[in-house]
Subunit: 279 residues, 2 copies
């Protein structure tokens, strides 16, 4: 592996560049800048060996191309780069939903290019390459939705491992269903929670509300794409959640303390599983 080109050098892409330079000896990292403004910003980052304004120049001799863009932009990007890649290049992405992305990769990328769908489960509510963190990926889990035994998949799994990630494999459909529940739903819950409160109360927020709204600071530019590209699963998770909420509302309205204890103890037990999570 000699040259890695990153399209979309924001917080995730920038942290990827930083982590790659730190952990992989001899790698050349190239960042693509779509605008002059972005070019000037990326030129200041010490962890990019090359910054390119021209997409063709950026990808034409890359061994790996990482697409770290919002979901629909990533899907679009494959169409743009398809004609510029050398045979054997491996393209991978970092998007939070995978079916949309895989459909697009299948549609636009030629047969001699491998695509490996990836979802590193980490991030930050901050945005921008200037907030890049070299350890963002370390010890976190990367879900890979490509076939485990394919040579390209093996290369990419080794790449993430070199950055300190654990990898796991599942198909895009199962991925999107699970992430709809464990990641996309919590974001909607957090957005809706903070929007429902009296604004004057917010400055009195106790630690509980601070925690519950950390991800309410997540950028619309990223999250609208994630939620709309996984609409069916998010809606279905929202329905299950609304049911659970209604259940507690009825318990409270009915004054059923024993049922409330059971409801909270179930949550306690489940929290112990989350506590022992992989990330």
């Amino acid at each position: 592996m000699k040259k890695l080109t990153i399209i979309g050098v924001g917080l995730m892409g920038g942290s990827l560049a930083l982590a790659a330079k730190k952990n992989i000896a001899g790698i050349t990292v190239c960042g693509f800048a779509r605008s002059d403004k972005s070019y000037r910003k990326l030129k200041k980052l010490p962890f990019l060996d090359i910054v390119e304004r021209d997409l063709k120049s950026a990808v034409k001799d890359a061994d790996l191309v990482a697409v770290a863009l919002p979901v629909f932009a990533a899907a679009d990007c494959f169409r743009e780069i398809a004609g510029f890649l050398k045979p054997g290049t491996i393209v991978f992405d970092l998007s939070s939903t995978k079916e949309e992305i895989e459909n697009s990769a299948r549609k636009y990328l030629p047969k001699n290019i491998s695509f490996v769908g990836c979802h590193p489960i980490c991030g930050s509510e901050k945005t921008g390459a200037e907030h890049s963190v070299g350890d963002l990926y370390r010890d976190a889990l990367c879900l890979i939705t490509a076939k485990e035994k394919d040579p390209a998949t093996i290369t990419i799994a080794q790449f993430w491992s070199a950055l300190g990630m654990k990898v796991a494999f599942l198909n895009a459909k199962a991925h999107d269903k699970m992430l709809g529940a464990i990641s996309h739903l919590p974001h909607v819950v957090s957005f809706a929670l903070i929007n429902s409160l009296d604004e004057g109360y917010l400055k009195f927020a106790p630690p509980s509300l601070c925690d519950m709204t950390r991800i309410a600071g997540s950028p619309a530019s990223v999250w609208v794409d994630i939620l709309f590209s996984n609409k069916k699963n998010v809606s279905s998770s929202l329905r299950s959640y609304a049911k659970s909420l209604k259940q507690f509302e009825a318990i409270l309205a009915g004054g059923k303390k024993a049922a409330a204890v059971k409801f909270i103890e179930k949550a306690n037990t489940r929290r112990d599983i989350v506590r022992n999570d992989l990330v």
Copy 2:
């Protein structure tokens, strides 16, 4: 101020003892143990000067009595201690709801005893005096629901300030309405969220879900009392929240991306207020 007696030496009461010994020169701290088991446990804590098994002995010569029990137990406790207190003793509590508590204090405590309702906005999802933290109260906000100019209120405000807390005053009704929104609602949201998820997914929880479910580990013994003693306000907050959630569901189902951007950006702006909070 010479002797502080704490009834309910759990995480909050234990941390109170620890902080008082650390910050107030010459104070004597006495802990009341309701059972032999609890007595043996409390005797091991280096920050309690006295441990009493007998309630009368614990409170009879106390200058300050802190009641750090779940809401309904605290309300009950006033009846138990009323006959044992010396004139001039100041009783205060640490409960998360205040109307229920104030009604009980008014009903049971004699006229020569002052009561000051307090709600230090801090805590932990852990329980038990063995997890006491000396800095639990430092820099956090204490809401006081008694009259600001009363001598007893001034004494108690000085006490919390000595522990490093900021204090603010508001009446019990306004307190319970606000806390129903910014603390009790988030707990119900967290309990309901984790209970709605497929259990098999939990071990893959990303950082977002970890944050959103930290308070789902909060003990039923404390939270059933809080939620049921503030039922009206919690129900009303739940209704506003369900409305906000439904609004986003409709945006998603209708494919209205511009409205989704607006919804998320509103959440982002509000999150900036929480970020600059007092605690």
